[in-house]
């Protein structure tokens, strides 16, 4: 009973699917951010697993940069969300139609 690369890729895909379902069913923007974090983490697992089984460090490097991007995304996104909440008092996606698009 050995854990192979396929196991990790299947796990990563399951987590990615969970995140994708979250992105599609959430209306609250904060919950949407949580689902985005799940998506990024699922890809990180795949990168680390491939890096281990191929014997190459590039996968881990990409995982580091993905973590950096996730951190900056949270900082900017939460800042914008707080400004929006101060102005309107809501963070629902359906009510952000001030441009009537």
């Amino acid at each position: 009973m050995e854990v192979t690369l396929t196991h990790y890729l299947v796990l990563s895909t399951v987590l990615f699917a969970i995140g994708l379902i979250g992105v599609m069913r959430r209306k609250n923007l904060l919950m949407l951010f949580f689902a985005t974090e799940i998506l990024l983490n699922a890809t990180n697992i795949a990168f680390a697993a491939i890096s281990h089984y191929i014997g190459d460090l590039s996968g881990q490097m990409f995982a580091f940069f993905i973590i950096a991007i996730a951190a900056s995304e949270v900082a900017v996104g939460l800042g914008l969300l707080i400004v929006w909440y101060k102005r309107t008092g809501k963070i629902d996606l359906d009510q952000m139609n001030s441009m009537r698009g």
């Binding site: 009973m1 979250g22 949580f34 974090e37 799940i38 491939i50 460090l57 900082a75």
Partner: protein, 194 residues
């Protein structure tokens, strides 16, 4: 054997935690389950021998990102239930499974075609942190510096966006002053509109 047990245990835990995050209607349950799932994901990195990545995962995700979310949630009304979109659940699940199969194809295609060469192979006699440092500061030096600048920009953006009117402290003001401030802000809201 132990590796397999650890893998299946943490896989089940991670999937359950992230399912709670996605499905629950309480924001506080979601953030707690999310933090637990992040810790469990770092276990995979330790199993895979990527020790430095596992430590970074714990420090950055559960230390910084989750703390930032918890801090940001203080601004929002998190006690009321989250209302969900009324979409057809069948469409959502079919699209999710379709996208997942696509991701599998993306990952499996280069492995099946045997087209991957190890550009920066792992050296046997150095630890993971040392090997990561050697590759990061030689081959990936420019992306590393760009990422540093990006984090600085994101930090300044976060301070500028969230830090407006932070100089007005609610704890140091008298009660009537707070009420006055509040009414003037509300009239501003009504007057300013969108």
């Amino acid at each position: 054997m132990f590796e397999a047990i650890a893998f299946y245990l943490f896989a089940a835990l991670t999937i359950v935690m992230f399912t709670i995050t996605v499905m629950t209607s309480q924001a506080l349950y979601a953030i707690t389950a999310m933090a637990a799932g992040m810790i469990f994901i770092s276990a995979f990195f330790f199993i895979l021998g990527a020790d430095f990545l596992g430590a970074i995962q714990i420090i950055v995700y559960t230390g910084a990102v989750m703390a930032l979310y918890a801090f940001g949630m203080m601004f929002f009304d998190t006690t009321r239930n989250v209302i969900e979109k009324r979409t057809n659940p069948k469409i959502v699940f079919v699209l999710g499974i379709l996208a997942a199969v696509m991701v599998v194809a993306i990952f499996v295609a280069p492995i099946v075609s045997n087209n991957i060469h190890a550009l920066y192979p792992v050296e046997a006699n150095v630890g993971n942190s040392q090997a990561v440092g050697m590759v990061l500061f030689s081959k990936y030096l420019v992306p590393f510096e760009v990422a540093a600048v990006m984090l600085l920009v994101a930090m300044i953006a976060g301070i500028v966006l969230a830090g407006k009117k932070m100089d007005k402290s609610l704890t140091l003001m008298a009660d009537d002053q707070i009420a006055l401030n509040h009414t003037s802000q509300e009239s501003n809201h009504k007057g300013g509109g969108h």
